[in-house]
């Protein structure tokens, strides 16, 4: 039953992914001037000699002399068959090698932020709802509003500024200067930890605020439901009852929101890491965008979109697992 459902969902993803890649290709092509001329200008301004055979090679490899739709097909073909995302003229490297250097950090930071978001939002939401109108509830409602109205870049700036004032240390980057080029070691990890935590918390906070609110509202709603009264009428202990019925029901929709929390976290990661100049995709893509290094930017967009789509799929599957109404086809009523 479940396997069927997953297969069906996977099949539905294919047209969506194709459409996403087309849209992103269009976005890449939007800036005036084509890739080759930008590349040649870049080379010339940096005083390097323009290698004609390399140009011809590039043209052939990416079909740059062909009409637009063929260029798209080349792009897709290279990605699917050879994992070749194109070249970044700015770095004069393949996009793939850049991605290999920086994408793992980006993804791990985003996922860790997701975990932190949940770890904070769900318990706080539960306590807020079960202790409605208490001091705790009011505090976190206020916190939620502040979190929602403070842009992530400002949060990053402010926390770095405050920490600088307090400790005299500038916590930008993922490592202090001494460790930037050092190989990975325990000391480097220890050096990295507070910075990493800072980054993760900053990214998580803006998402946490919204999620606390929705968790609280959802649980308040569930607490009124008839089945809670049924359970109470059975003589179930209040605490057990709370966990078994309404909290589980209120968490279900939270599970299904990975699909829209993830894009937010990816965007947040991008901004925060740009502000804090972390060695992740964020600053790289920002530079690529300002310099219109579009293969790099486009590849990033494509990858995060695919990740989002996969995230949505996973959350749908999780929801189908926790909510039997979906697994067995259609919510009745």
């Amino acid at each position: 039953m479940l396997l069927n459902y997953i297969l069906k969902r996977l099949l539905q993803l294919i047209p969506l992914l194709i459409a996403v890649s087309i849209l992103i290709f269009i976005i890449i092509q939007l800036p005036p001037g084509d890739y080759l001329t930008t590349y040649i200008i870049q080379l010339e301004t940096s005083g390097l000699e323009v290698n004609q055979s390399e140009i011809i090679n590039l043209t052939k490899q990416y079909g740059l002399d062909k009409p637009m739709y063929q260029q798209y097909l080349y792009w897709m073909k290279n990605i699917i068959t050879k994992l070749d995302f194109g070249r970044s003229f700015q770095w004069n490297q393949t996009v793939l090698s850049l991605l290999q250097q920086r994408l793992p950090a980006t993804i791990s930071i985003s996922l860790l932020s997701l975990v932190v978001t949940w770890a904070i939002a769900i318990p706080v939401g539960i306590v807020s709802a079960t202790h409605q109108y208490s001091g705790f509830d009011y505090f976190f409602q206020f916190f939620g509003f502040i979190g929602m109205s403070c842009p992530a870049f400002l949060l990053a700036l402010a926390s770095v500024f405050i920490l600088f004032k307090l400790t005299g240390q500038s916590l930008t980057g993922l490592n202090s200067a001494a460790f930037v080029n050092a190989p990975m070691s325990w000391a480097k990890f220890v050096d990295m930890l507070p910075r990493l935590l800072l980054v993760i918390f900053i990214i998580a906070i803006s998402q946490t605020a919204g999620m606390i609110r929705s968790m609280r509202a959802m649980l308040l709603d569930e607490l009124q439901k008839q089945y809670v009264i049924t359970a109470r009428a059975k003589g179930v202990k209040e605490k057990k009852l709370l966990w078994k019925y309404p909290i589980r029901m209120a968490i279900n929709p939270q599970v299904s929101t990975i699909g829209w929390v993830l894009p937010g976290l990816i965007g947040g990661e991008m901004i925060v890491s740009t502000v804090l100049s972390l060695p992740t995709m964020g600053p790289l893509v920002k530079r690529a965008l300002t310099n219109q290094d579009m293969y790099l930017a486009g590849s990033y967009l494509l990858i995060v979109s695919v990740l989002t789509v996969i995230g949505t799929l996973i959350s749908d599957i999780l929801l189908a697992i926790v909510d039997p109404r979906i697994k067995f086809g259609g919510v009745s009523e």
Binding site: P15, L16, A19, V20, L23, I24, I27, I28, L30, P31, P32, F145, I146, M148, S149, C150, P151, A152, F153, L154, L157, A158, V160, F161, F164, K165, S170, T172, G259, W260, L262, P263, G264, I266, G267, G268, M270, I271, T274, V275, V285, K286, L289, T290, Q292, A297, G298, Y300, L301, V304, S305, T308, V309, T312
Partner: protein, 385 residues
């Protein structure tokens, strides 16, 4: 119930107006509910004041946004005094500023001199065109009282929130930036409403192929993370483009993502309303299609549209300031809250000139107010529950 109706009907006693609850219209009920939301009741006047001030920023700001005080770079906010050193009440005044170079660090800063510069309301200052027109005026809401004959821009200066590295008054720039940032979100929301209502409405009303296409388009846009997409689209705008054009294109880009939410709400409401008994009743009464849509369906989902739209404003403001801050959105010389914050990108600059962070306060306050207002509206949206 309007007075007009009362008059048109001669015998007033046929109209029962004893109890206001019974004759309260939808909007009255919504207002009563809205009034209960205290935060929203504070937020609305704050927003109105902010908009008023920013719309007339030349008048309310003591200086012009691009006006440079060459001798006063990176000045800290000037302190306003009421009593002089001897304890005599003078009224609001500031002391003149003298440049001071630290003999050890050689860092330049400004210290207060003994010169008393009086402040006042409705004072003469730099000339500006009223609402950008050719009509020139030089009265400012508040500022230093210039001695008769003295031109602005001299040494009688007053900087409420300090100056930046080029010697421009931060407060004046914030008000001017507010005009851009605060209007930007409204323009963007207007685009959102146009696109979202049209597509959502078509999708819900026509159904079939149109519905499928719009739904797939929404899925498509939802699957690309918003901020990177904004950034990519914003980066694609050529740098030679005029500021005005860029302003509108940027707001369009913002709404390209925002409309999906509104379209969903519209479609969902349309679909559910179509099956509502009172709408079927209206059709059974012989109402035309247009009358059913505009007289019966629109008023009942208008409130949801308003809620959805207000809910999307904070995101727009945050998005614009973020992009501008990163240098991908509106660019100097256009002044917006985001571009103003570009000046404090590093810890060093923040430590040296923390007053450049003031725009952040305005961002937070305005977004907070919109959040509260949206919250209040959501509570009031369905007074019949």
């Amino acid at each position: 119930m309007s007075d007009k109706k009362k008059k048109s009907n001669a015998n007033i006693d046929t109209v029962d107006s004893s109890s206001s609850y019974e004759v309260a219209s939808q909007y009255k009920l919504m207002w009563w509910k809205f009034k209960k939301h205290k935060a929203a009741m504070i937020a609305v006047p704050v927003l109105i004041i902010m908009y008023l001030i920013c719309m007339c920023c030349e008048f309310f700001a003591p200086a012009l946004p691009l006006e440079r005080y060459k001798d006063y770079k990176d000045t800290a906010p000037t302190r306003i005094h009421l009593w002089d050193d001897d304890g005599n009440f003078v009224g609001p005044f500031v002391y003149g500023l003298e440049r001071y170079t630290d003999p050890y660090t050689f860092r330049k800063s400004y210290v207060e001199s003994d010169q008393i510069i009086k402040l006042g309301f409705f004072v003469r200052g730099s000339e500006y065109g009223v609402f950008g027109s050719n009509l020139k005026w030089d009265v400012h809401f508040f500022g230093v009282k210039l001695p008769e004959g003295e031109e602005p821009g001299g040494h009688n200066v007053f900087f409420l929130m300090g100056t930046d590295s080029l010697g421009r008054d931060v407060f004046s720039r914030i008000l001017s930036g507010g005009r851009i940032s605060l209007s930007f979100c409204l323009v963007s929301v207007a685009f959102t409403v146009i696109i979202g209502l049209t597509l959502g409405g078509l999708s819900g009303y026509l159904g079939g192929v149109v519905d499928t296409i719009v739904q797939r388009a929404i899925d498509l846009i939802m699957s690309i993370p918003g901020i990177p997409m904004w950034m990519a689209l914003a980066a694609a705008l050529p740098s030679t483009m005029s500021n005005l054009k860029k302003y509108f294109l940027m707001s369009l880009i913002m709404s390209l993502i925002g409309w999906t939410g509104l379209a969903r709400v519209t479609r969902g409401k349309l679909l559910s309303l179509r099956e509502e008994d009172f709408v079927i009743a209206a059709r059974m009464c012989g109402s035309s299609h247009m009358r059913v849509i505009f007289k019966h369906m629109l008023p009942s989902f208008l409130s949801y549209i308003i809620v959805s739209v207000t809910g999307s404003i904070p995101g727009t403001i945050l998005g614009e300031t973020t992009l501008s801050f990163l240098g991908l959105g509106l660019q100097a010389p256009t002044v917006s809250w985001g571009t103003l914050l570009q000046d404090c990108q590093t810890v060093d600059s923040m430590a040296a000139t923390p007053w450049l962070m003031f725009p952040a306060l305005f961002i937070i306050v305005s977004v907070l107010c919109f959040c509260f207002m949206g919250d209040g509206l959501r509570d009031a949206a369905d007074p019949y529950k």
